[in-house]
Amino acid sequence: LPICSNGSVNCQVSLGELFDRAVKLSHYIHFLSSEIFNEFDEHYGQGRHFIARAVNSCHTSSLTTPEDKEQAQQIHHEALLNVILGILRSWNDPLIHLASEVQRIKEAPDTILRKAVEIEEQNKRLLEGMEKIVGQVHSGEVGNEIYSQWEGLPSLQLADEDSRLSAFYNLLHCFHRDSHKIDNYLKLLKCRLIHGSNC
C-alpha cells in the first residue's frame, strides 16, 4: 500500500503510477473501439462501402496532431498532453450520444450496445486521469483550451437508414483512429517522462 503516514496530507498517486494506469486504460479503450468498429462493420457494413464516405470525415481533423514519430518526439510533452486532452474532450459529447442513439438501431446486437456504454464510461475515466496527470506535470490550472466541437447528432437520427448507419460507421471509424492516437501518444509520453525514453 502506498505509505501514507497517518495525518500526512500529500499522500498521492505518483506520476509514474498515473501513467501506468492511463496507458493500461487507453490500451483497453482502443481494444474496445476495435471490437465495436469491427462488429458494426460486420453486422451493417457488408457491401455498403461505408469506408469511401468515411474518408476525411472526422470532426477532430481540425486538431493539429503529430502524424509520425519525429513530430511526436519533437513536440513538447506539455503540448502533447494538451493534444491528448483536446482529443479526449472532443469525444465526450459524441460518445454520450453514441451510447444512447445506438440503442435505437434495429436489432443492434447486445455486445455493440454494451460496448458503446462502456467506451463512454472509460473515456470519461481516462479524461479524469489525464487531468490529474496534467495537474501534476504542470502545476498551473488545467485550462479548458482546445477541443473540437461535434455537430453530428442529427446525422445519427436521420430517417434514411443507410445514411444513418453510414453516420454511425463514420463515428466509430474516427473514434477507432483517435483512440489509437491517444494510446500511442500516451505510451510515448510514459517512456519519455517516466523512463527517460528508454522503455
Binding site: 499522500c11 498521492q12 490500451h27 481494444f31
Partner: protein, 210 residues
C-alpha cells in the same frame, strides 16, 4: 458513554471497477449507535459520505463504478455516534489499484493424456474469474497452482505466470491428488482465495518410461 472508535478492517476491489470497505464497531456502551463512513480524495477538500451502506451487507460501504476512481487516494474514516457523543476511526488510505483481489479462477479441469510416444501426463486447464475482463490487458492475472497427494501434508506450489494451462509429467502412479488454483493481478493487489478442491486419481500404469 460515547461509543469507542470503530476500526476499518478491510477494503477490496474484485475487478478494479468497484470497491467495498468493511469496519468493525467498537464497544458501543449499550447505546443504539449509528455509523457514518466519510471520505475525501487526495488533493481535494470536499468530504463525501458513503454512497451505499446496503449492497455489501452490515458495517460496509460499497463504491460503485461512478464513485470509484483509481487516479486518487481515498482518505476514509468511520464515525460512531450515539446519544452520549461520537468517536472517529483512524483514517484508512485506499488506492484502488492496490486493493484488487480477484475472485478465484473457474472451470478447473484435469485430464490425463498420453504423448506421441505413449508417455502419460496430466493437463490442468482453468479460466479467469468471470468478473475480471482479462482479454485485453485491462486486468492482467497471474496464476499459481498447488497440489498434494490426498493423504499428504505438504502442498507443492507452482507459479505458472499468465498461462491458463499446465502440464504435469511427473506424478506418482496410483496416487489420488488434490489440485487448487488461485490468481492475482500482475502488479499490485493480492491473491484470490483458492479454487474449490479438484481430485484426480492417477492410474497405476501412469509410469513415466525413462
Amino acid at each position: 458513554s460515547p461509543p469507542e472508535k470503530p476500526i476499518i478492517i478491510k477494503c477490496r476491489s474484485p475487478e478494479k471497477e468497484t470497491f467495498t470497505c468493511w469496519w468493525k464497531p467498537g464497544p458501543d456502551g449499550g447505546q443504539p449507535t449509528n455509523y457514518t463512513l466519510l471520505y475525501s480524495k487526495e488533493g481535494e477538500e470536499q468530504v463525501y459520505e458513503c454512497p451505499d451502506y446496503r449492497t455489501a451487507g452490515p458495517n460496509s460501504c460499497y463504491f460503485d463504478k461512478k464513485h470509484t476512481s483509481f487516479w486518487t487516494i481515498y482518505n476514509i474514516t468511520v464515525k460512531a455516534t450515539n446519544e452520549m457523543g461520537s468517536n472517529i476511526s483512524d483514517p484508512h488510505y485506499v488506492d484502488v489499484t492496490y486493493i484488487v483481489q480477484p475472485d478465484p479462477p473457474v472451470n478447473v479441469t484435469l485430464e490425463l493424456k498420453k504423448t506421441i510416444n505413449r508417455k502419460p501426463y496430466l493437463v490442468l486447464t482453468w479460466s479467469p474469474p468471470p468478473l475480471a475482463d482479462v482479454r485485453s490487458g485491462w486486468l492482467t492475472l497471474e496464476y499459481e497452482l498447488r497440489l498434494k497427494p490426498e493423504e499428504g501434508e505438504e502442498w507443492e506450489t507452482i507459479f505458472v505466470g499468465q498461462q491458463t494451462q499446465y502440464k504435469m509429467f511427473s506424478l506418482n502412479p496410483g496416487k489420488k491428488y488434490i489440485v487448487q488454483i488461485h490468481c492475482k493481478p500482475d502488479h499490485h493487489g493480492s491473491w484470490s482465495e483458492w479454487s474449490s478442491e479438484k481430485y484426480i486419481q492417477i492410474p497405476t500404469d501412469f509410469r513415466v518410461k525413462d
